[in-house]
């Protein structure tokens, strides 16, 4: 169990500030949702947390320890796992090996030991663990096929399985539902909850507001890279700033746009109760 603490984080791309003085905390064992309109900087935030882009200011703390100077692979070794919005699987490796890859950091065998085959017991344990994770995600019967043979939804699940194999303390999920067919979304939601019940702190970026409202303990809203609002799902849903940001009426423009009448937009952020299925598909196009 661990907490993730972001302080005053800024990411600049040339002249563009993609993340602007953002700060929030994901408390131990909770699910924190990060939402915001497209282009709000959510994926950049994830890249900065996991070390793929270098912030120009601010810090990322894992359990109170500043990890912002570490390389991405070092952060992963400390129990910070993530999935990617656009998949990052190893296509010509088997599904099982992809998951075993996830436990790389928790295995101890040195290169020389690997070369001489001295780590057999550890290897077999990693294999068993990987199979266990595949079973959890319902992919066990496909363990032998190359990852490139999986459909998009299964590939997403495989990424989660791989992230889990590292026994993460904090798990960053980048749009786990995008591209997943409606009938399978509930399964993913159940899996996210199950992972959380084992004590893993989860930070979730997701466009499907119904799901975000259902599973998150707390939500932080980003707008133009900056912190806009934070609180429980119910609080955030009623925040006027959030409604305005999502409808693009931040400055009182666009008269006549009554909240809730715009079908198929993420207006569900404001009205989770009205959202049955329609909004859930939004992520598919994102």
């Amino acid at each position: 169990m661990a907490s993730l603490q972001i302080d005053d984080l800024c990411v600049d791309f040339g002249g563009l500030r993609a993340v602007n003085a953002l700060g929030f905390t994901a408390a131990e064992g909770t699910i924190k949702g990060v939402i915001g309109p497209n282009g709000a900087g959510k994926t950049t935030l994830f890249n900065a947390i996991s070390g793929f882009v270098r912030p120009s200011r601010g810090s990322v703390r894992l359990d109170g320890i500043d990890i912002s100077t570490l390389a991405s692979h070092e952060r992963a070794s400390r129990g910070l796992s993530r999935t990617f919005q656009n998949l990052q699987l190893i296509p010509d490796m088997s599904v099982l090996e992809n998951v075993m890859l996830g436990s790389h950091a928790s295995l101890r065998a040195a290169w020389g030991a690997s070369l001489l085959g001295l780590a057999r017991r550890e290897e077999l344990a990693a294999e068993a663990l990987a199979l266990e994770k595949l079973e959890l995600l319902g992919l066990a019967d496909r363990s032998a096929v190359p990852a490139s043979d999986l459909g998009f939804a299964d590939a997403k699940l495989l990424e989660i399985a791989r992230a889990l194999a590292g026994c993460p303390r904090v798990l960053l999920l980048d749009e786990p539902l995008a591209g997943v067919p409606l009938e399978e979304q509930n399964r993913v939601v159940e899996i996210v909850r199950a992972i959380n019940r084992t004590g893993v702190t989860i930070v979730l970026v997701e466009h499907n507001m119904r799901v975000v409202m259902q599973v998150c303990d707390e939500i932080v809203v980003m707008h133009h890279g900056a912190w806009l609002a934070e609180g429980s799902p119910a609080d955030v849903a009623q925040s006027p700033e959030v409604i305005a940001a999502y409808l693009g009426t931040a400055h009182g423009a666009a008269p006549g746009t009554a909240p809730g009448t715009t079908q198929g937009t993420a207006a569900g952020a404001a009205y989770p109760q009205t959202d049955a299925a329609g909004h859930g598909t939004r992520g598919n196009h994102a």
Binding site: S50, G51, F52, A71, S72, H73, E74, A76, S77, S81, R82, F84, Q88, L89, I90, P91, D92, M93, S94, L96, E97, M100, L101, G102, H104, A105, L107, A109, W111, S114, L115, L116, G117, A119, R120, E122, E123, L124, A126, E127, D141, S143, A144, V145, R162, G166
Partner: protein, 334 residues
């Protein structure tokens, strides 16, 4: 396909196949009618070290080295010069060759692999060229363009490996050891890490894999294998000359990796077989030798992206499956 896949089992299968093959290879000295044919067997194993080492870096690590022949030469000259000029016992020279080629790979790889992209190819291209100049111009040590002659044969534990018959078993053991190490390595934690780095450095990093380390170590392994091959070559041939180790030779080795099947475990076996046999066959074309070779290379790159191993492997799997089926039906028959 519902049959369970397991890296550990795959490793065992590969090791078992290597064992069977290598037992079969023991018959070569009996089949070879003369020393020349026998020596082709020796060169096969030496080429296997060169190609197998490079396949790890190129096929599984996604980085090209254009200095495999340079490390081959470094191994040959280090061991050769130490035994001819300094009077070292050949086996000590072989060890020195192995160490020095690995260490020089470390020195080249440390700066070059820190850069994202194919900078290793460029750095190794330069390093091979510099080595060639050194082999040719350090006449006092290397004998210059005339080559280094009088390299003594290896004597190990009182056994003189001067004759092709005896040396064959030494090369046989080195080649088998290389294939076994590769089999174990590829299905291990570090092997998976290397393959992941080649496919996606982002994915690898998110799994906690240090891409730089993985590539550097693969490069050192490939150079070490080449250095060992060079030392064996020098003491077998008892002569070494610079043009064996120039850039064109490095390119040839890269081509053989691709031809055998890059990123295919069995690729180097085919690559080494072709590399050993092709010069003999190509000589028939005389002046058109290079053209036939170049055209063949184009055909392979365009139409056989998986190399020979990629064509043979499915057939072999089918035969194996058929045989298992046959065995099963026989066993179940009353």
């Amino acid at each position: 396909m519902s049959q369970a896949f397991s890296p550990a089992k795959q490793c065992e299968r590969r090791l078992a196949t290597v064992a069977v093959l290598w037992i079969a290879f023991l018959a070569w000295p009996l089949l070879a009618g003369n020393d020349y044919v026998l020596s082709l067997g020796v060169y096969f194993f030496i080429n296997l070290l060169l190609i197998g080492g490079l396949n790890l870096l190129m096929g599984f690590g996604g980085q090209i080295s254009l200095c495999q022949a340079g490390f081959f030469g470094l191994g040959a000259y280090v061991s050769g010069v130490l035994s001819v000029r300094a009077g070292w016992p050949p086996h000590a020279g072989v060890a020195a060759a192995l160490i020095l080629s690995t260490v020089s790979a470390l020195a080249i790889g440390l700066p070059a692999l820190r850069l994202r992209g194919n900078y290793l190819a460029m750095a190794t291209l330069g390093f091979n060229a510099i080595l060639t100049v050194l082999f040719t111009e350090l006449v006092g040590l290397t004998g210059g363009p005339n080559g280094l002659s009088g390299i003594p044969p290896i004597i190990l534990a009182g056994v003189d490996f001067g004759s092709p018959q005896r040396f064959y078993y030494l090369a046989w053991a080195a080649g088998g050891l290389c294939m076994a190490l590769l089999a174990v390595f590829l299905s291990s934690r570090a092997g998976r890490a290397l393959r992941a780095v080649a496919a996606s450095e982002v994915a690898a990093a998110s799994m906690g894999i240090n891409a730089f380390n993985a590539k550097l170590l693969a490069f050192m392994f490939s150079a070490g294998a080449a250095g060992l091959a060079g030392a064996l070559y020098a003491h077998f041939n008892q002569y070494a000359s610079p043009e064996t180790f120039n850039f064109s030779a490095s390119v040839l080795i890269v081509v053989m990796v691709a031809l055998g099947g890059w990123g295919q475990y069995w690729g180097p076996i085919f690559g080494a077989a072709v590399f050993t046999a092709v010069p003999e066959l190509l000589h028939k074309f005389q002046d058109a030798e290079l053209l036939v070779f170049g055209a063949g290379m184009i055909v392979v790159l365009l139409f056989l992206p998986q190399g020979i191993a990629g064509c043979v492997a499915p057939i072999a799997t089918r035969i194996a499956a058929g045989m298992t089926l046959l065995a099963r039906t026989r066993a179940t028959r009353p």
